[in-house]
Symmetry: C2
Subunit: 351 residues, 2 copies
């Protein structure tokens, strides 16, 4: 199936329309007409070869919601006309321990990313959600139980949502727990919303005093400007868990020191240059840990989507046309978005 | 009670005899005639002001075994003539959450170290085990169930033993688990012995090919020379837990990469200069953690001592006279000891 898409042909190129091929749906495949696709910072990193291994043409996009247009003969979970979503993965080995446990993001053979293909660089390239249609094995397709009017805001749940949900759940965010969220951007604003909805006491950390009111509106119980030493010192040893959504290199000790005994600081972003080396003493004297977490598995992604649907939770977004992607990237680089751009894919179809 | 001890009077001074005062035993105190005291690298760091805050005169020593010579009226666990031991702590607040849980080493108000006093620098100095006698509240005194002939080898269990036991137990070392021990020295040799005795598959890491046979003799199932890239690569993603006993700054990623998903690398030493900054990606892509661990609580120290007594486990040691302490330090700095010096305190009494 020839499919219209927006792609870059090299690290220096601008986005423009191309035609890509989507496979005809196989027995276990679901074909989806894409309605909305969120814009993740990973899209930009990949398109511009800021991470190694980009294959061109590159069609980013892994926050995909749409409507099912065809299903294979063995598909049981979806019917034509259903709303459906695709996140960061479209395949994995499905045989290793991590896949068996529903944690395909940690597949021991490497999952196949929704765009830019297998993580190890082998095999075929894949093309993401900056396109009209996508065909995905039903195991990697999520059901959407939000209302039609919420769909644009659902899209970022597929990456920003699950990337914050998975560590929040893994490290036990909930009633009686004090949870820090570092950064109030695309990921962080979802972290605040989800931690709050899970019942935790939420402390949002930002370098921007101007984000105080909006962080409170998202559900933070406290907002700390991380450049204020007194405000930071007042929280020393007070938090059970901190989710750090800031990928830029920064001082981790400032947050480690806020953890209680046995507390964890979880990183979800890979900085372009390493963080300053954290203090071993800060870990040793309270048995604290610095950990990492990668997106989330399919099972927990569905749980997160259902949790959000029940509570009416979506991302706070700004809708753009496909043709505005370069402007959106430029604004994203300046953190000039509250909090996620979402492409209305009707604009690609109309192009 | 005037008590003979060996002390340094400044960072540059040599050890020499002094007289210190020990309090008369209070109602909950146990007075101990010291038979053996292990020599820990912390003794040297403190004596020579390599860590901040040393108070002089400094009498190190926190691997103490001896015999009870007097007990206060409220003491219930010890009688005159019993064997007894004292480790790194002689007091804590006993009211905070960590103290309530038997994890006095994480006391929220800071424990009182066996030497060099309260960790926050307040209050009185304390004098350690390089001395004839010590008087300690019974809560911080351990019972010894080893035989009399094993006592010198028991002494290092009080620091080297518990510092490795606590993280091994906390992170679940046992049957079916593959556990790495980095460094085969004072701490590491106990880590290998204890992990083996707990039933784990033990992989010892050393930079010294010459330590292979002795590491196997200690109980390692495999020995990896960490400077051999092929040997390291062959263990990638294979270990459940790694206890890193090396305090010198080194590449943590080399070990993080050997962990399975959800594996932990636990540090127990504070390097003089920071370790190279670990890779966020190495943590994120397998949800691994880098953590720290500090000695161990009184309850778990007693459990470790009883476990070792039942199995006849002691440290491998070289006994020295008190007067040989400077030579011992010089040899310790060259790692020229298998694996711990222990002072026979009869030599102080005879001096």
């Amino acid at each position: 199936m020839s499919t219209r898409a927006f792609a870059v042909q090299s690290a220096e190129a601008l986005f423009g329309p191309i035609a890509i091929e989507r496979r005809a749906p196989g027995a276990s495949d679901v074909a989806i007409d894409i309605l909305y696709c969120g814009v993740c910072h990973s899209d930009l990193h990949t398109a511009r070869s800021e991470w190694p291994g980009t294959r061109y043409p590159c069609v980013p996009g892994h926050e995909i919601v749409g409507r099912v247009t065809a299903v294979g003969s063995q598909v049981t979970k979806f019917s034509v006309g259903d709303l459906a979503a695709v996140g960061c993965m479209v395949d994995s080995c499905r045989r290793c321990l991590s896949c068996d446990e529903g944690l395909e993001q940690y597949c021991e053979h490497g999952f196949t990313a929704t765009y830019n293909g297998p993580l190890d660089g082998s095999g075929e390239n894949t093309y993401g959600g900056y396109s009209e249609k996508i065909v995905v094995d039903e195991h990697f397709v999520l059901a959407i139980r939000h209302s039609d009017t919420q769909l644009a805001g659902v899209a970022p749940l597929l990456c920003a949502g699950i990337t914050t949900w998975s560590p929040l759940k893994h490290w036990g965010a909930g009633p009686g727990k004090s949870v820090g969220i570092v950064g109030v951007g695309g990921l962080g604003h979802m972290g605040v919303k989800l931690a709050h909805a899970l019942g935790a006491h939420v402390v949002a950390f930002t370098t921007s005093p101007g984000k105080r009111e909006s962080a409170l509106a998202l559900g933070a119980d406290e907002v700390v400007v991380s450049t204020d030493p007194a405000a930071m010192a007042a929280r020393a040893g007070r938090l059970d868990f901190i989710l750090d959504t800031v990928a830029a290199a920064h001082d981790l000790d400032a947050y480690v020191n806020l953890l209680k005994r046995d507390g964890a600081l979880a990183l979800v972003g890979v900085p372009a240059t390493p963080h300053p080396s954290p203090s071993a003493g800060g870990l040793i004297f309270k048995r604290r840990q610095i950990a990492g977490s990668l997106i989330g598995g399919i099972k927990e992604t569905q749980e997160m989507l259902d949790f959000c649907a029940e509570r009416g939770i979506v991302a706070d977004i700004e809708t753009i046309a496909m043709q505005e992607i370069e402007t959106a990237y430029a604004r994203m680089l300046k953190s000039d978005v509250k909090y996620r751009f979402v492409i209305d894919m009707a604009t690609l179809k109309a192009a």
